[in-house]
Amino acid sequence: MAIPVIYNMRSVKARWTSAVVAVLGIAGTVGVFVAMLSLARGFKATLVHSGSARNAMVRRAGSTSEMDSVIQLDQEKILEDAPGVARTAEGPLVSPEVVVIAPFPMRSTGTDANVQIRGVSTKAPQVHENVKIIAGRFFQPGVSELVVGKNAVHSYSGLDLGNTVRFGGGQWKIVGVFDAGGTAFDSEVWCDSNILSQVYSRPASIFSSLAVRLNSPDAMSAFKDALTSDPRLTLQAEREVDYYDKQSRVLTTLITVLGSIVAAVMGIGAVFGALNTMYSAVAERSREIATIRALGFGAASVVSSFVLEALLISSVGGALGCVAVLPLNGFTTGAMNWQTFSHLAFAFRVTPILLAGGIVFALVMGLVGGLPPAIRAARRPVADALRAL
């Protein structure tokens, strides 16, 4: 039978000053670990949620992003008749889009950051269904007007409703603010694609990408087959969600790897803290351990008891670390999207899975920090420990 858990709980309570060192070390490590991963998770979610499973993103074959893609008007016209393309009374739901970047000063630092400017058609709100105007109105076609994503309004100076801004050699009036549901579009500025092409001296018949609304998510394969089998088209199509998922990978991987390295280094420190706490517990309680052994409890009972105690301490640290990062959930920050070189606002996402991961990480640290002292406790000869004062 195991040594009662109450013994460990009360022992930890009695020696709480020593346990605090380990608890804080583990809490800090778990906090950083969860915060970094929630940062990566937030970045990824912001981009991935920008796409819809019912939308196809069409770009030039071989391009890696909208920035290095070129699609001609005649190709767009061919695509409008492809199978699976959703239609309304006004015609096929295909939004030819032009993407450029323009510098705007950030409110937080005053330094310029690249904002993604998306030239779209009037069909864009029907194709990107998550985009809703929350203030003002949508831009009028053929007019130098802008609608601004809600995160862009908060992140950059001068992008307030009613303001006039200059970029690309043109003057633009901000007539509306839209909410794209916390996606990457919230960091963008939208305008008429024809006007944007004119201002940037681009042919009006050339676009960066086509956003195509499909009849259903299942229509993707028929649409893709039609696109790839047509010799007139040198285009590639993929689901919007997949495109944005790929976009998120570079920075997500970077944050995850860096976060893991930092957490691992901190974790080593925390494990030493746990080792120190548990070794001192074993040293201080050697007579108690010997007495318990003399009463007939086996070495395995002693090992499991001290490992349990270490797990108890580490779980408290893990829980504390998780609670500490909870306020970060929803906190908006920004980073460069390395695929488009534009600044993207996104929110930390502290999810239950990340919190569970943080607790598991804490328990692993507790196990690594608790096992060697527990083995030492069990190995010490009973007679020697009873003799020692």
Binding site: A14, L295, G296, F297, L386
Partner: protein, 241 residues
């Protein structure tokens, strides 16, 4: 009857040719040398001798918390000298009750929980354990201190809790290492009266190490450890005061 000549038989405890050596640096210390001992059930034996003579070592060997260099210890027919570590641990739980000089109670557990500890190694139900602990604490007259922590008890009370812990699982014999060493005379006297009661009323077998001749006098037999072997010093008539 207690014998130290190695000629006893049908004993509860039978020790033959017991050797124990320690290595201290390059020096080899021969603590026990060819020690023999026979103890019958219900005996109360005191071991005396100067510091370092091996009294506690002998107690540890008899209790299975140390292993001899050579020799044989048999308790109630079980030879413990060749038992594996885990087997010896199980054997200790069933056969030995320890009483230590400094009580060795677990400070974070109440008197009740300390006494209950050895019973956690048995198959008794919680209700049965509660009954046994109640009985043991009643025997040591501490029924009103069940929820007290060791720090809330006097030295004498702590030792009584330790004795309750030692007898709660009804072991084959009790090993008491200087049970009065940390107590004042009055408390020591109470403890010895309690141990005597365990022997006389409950038929317990007690082997006790002590430095105190007055305490040793309470035992049926007093043995001296000299040059690693036992020498009988005094035996009193059982039942004599």
């Amino acid at each position: 009857m207690v014998r130290v000549d190695g000629n006893g038989n049908s004993s509860l405890i039978c020790v033959r040719g017991l050797d124990k050596k320690y290595q201290r640096g390059s020096e080899e210390i021969h603590v026990l040398q060819g020690l023999n001992l026979d103890v019958e059930k219900g005996e109360f034996v005191a071991f005396m001798g100067p510091s370092g003579s091996g009294k506690t070592t002998l107690l540890n060997l008899l209790g299975g918390v140390d292993v001899p260099t050579r020799g044989r210890i048999t308790v109630a027919g079980d030879e413990i000298t060749h038992m594996s570590g885990s087997k010896l641990t199980n054997w200790r739980a069933r056969h030995v009750g320890f009483v230590f000089q400094v009580f060795n109670l677990i400070p974070v557990l109440t008197a009740y929980q300390n006494v209950e500890l050895p019973l956690l190694l048995t198959k008794l139900s919680k209700a049965e354990r509660r009954k046994h602990v109640g009985t043991a604490l009643a025997v040591v007259d501490l029924s009103d201190r069940v929820d007290h922590y060791p720090r809330q008890l006097s030295g004498g009370q702590e030792q009584r809790v330790a004795i309750a812990r030692a007898i709660v699982s009804d072991p084959t014999f009790l090993l008491c290492d200087e049970p009065t060493g940390d107590l004042d005379r009055k408390s020591a006297d109470q403890i010895m009266t309690l141990i005597e009661r365990l022997v006389e009323e409950y038929g317990k077998t007690v082997l006790m190490v002590t430095h105190d001749p007055l305490v040793a006098k309470r035992a049926h037999t007093t043995l001296h450890l000299e040059k690693g072997a036992l020498v009988e010093a005094a035996t009193k008539e059982v039942g004599a005061s």
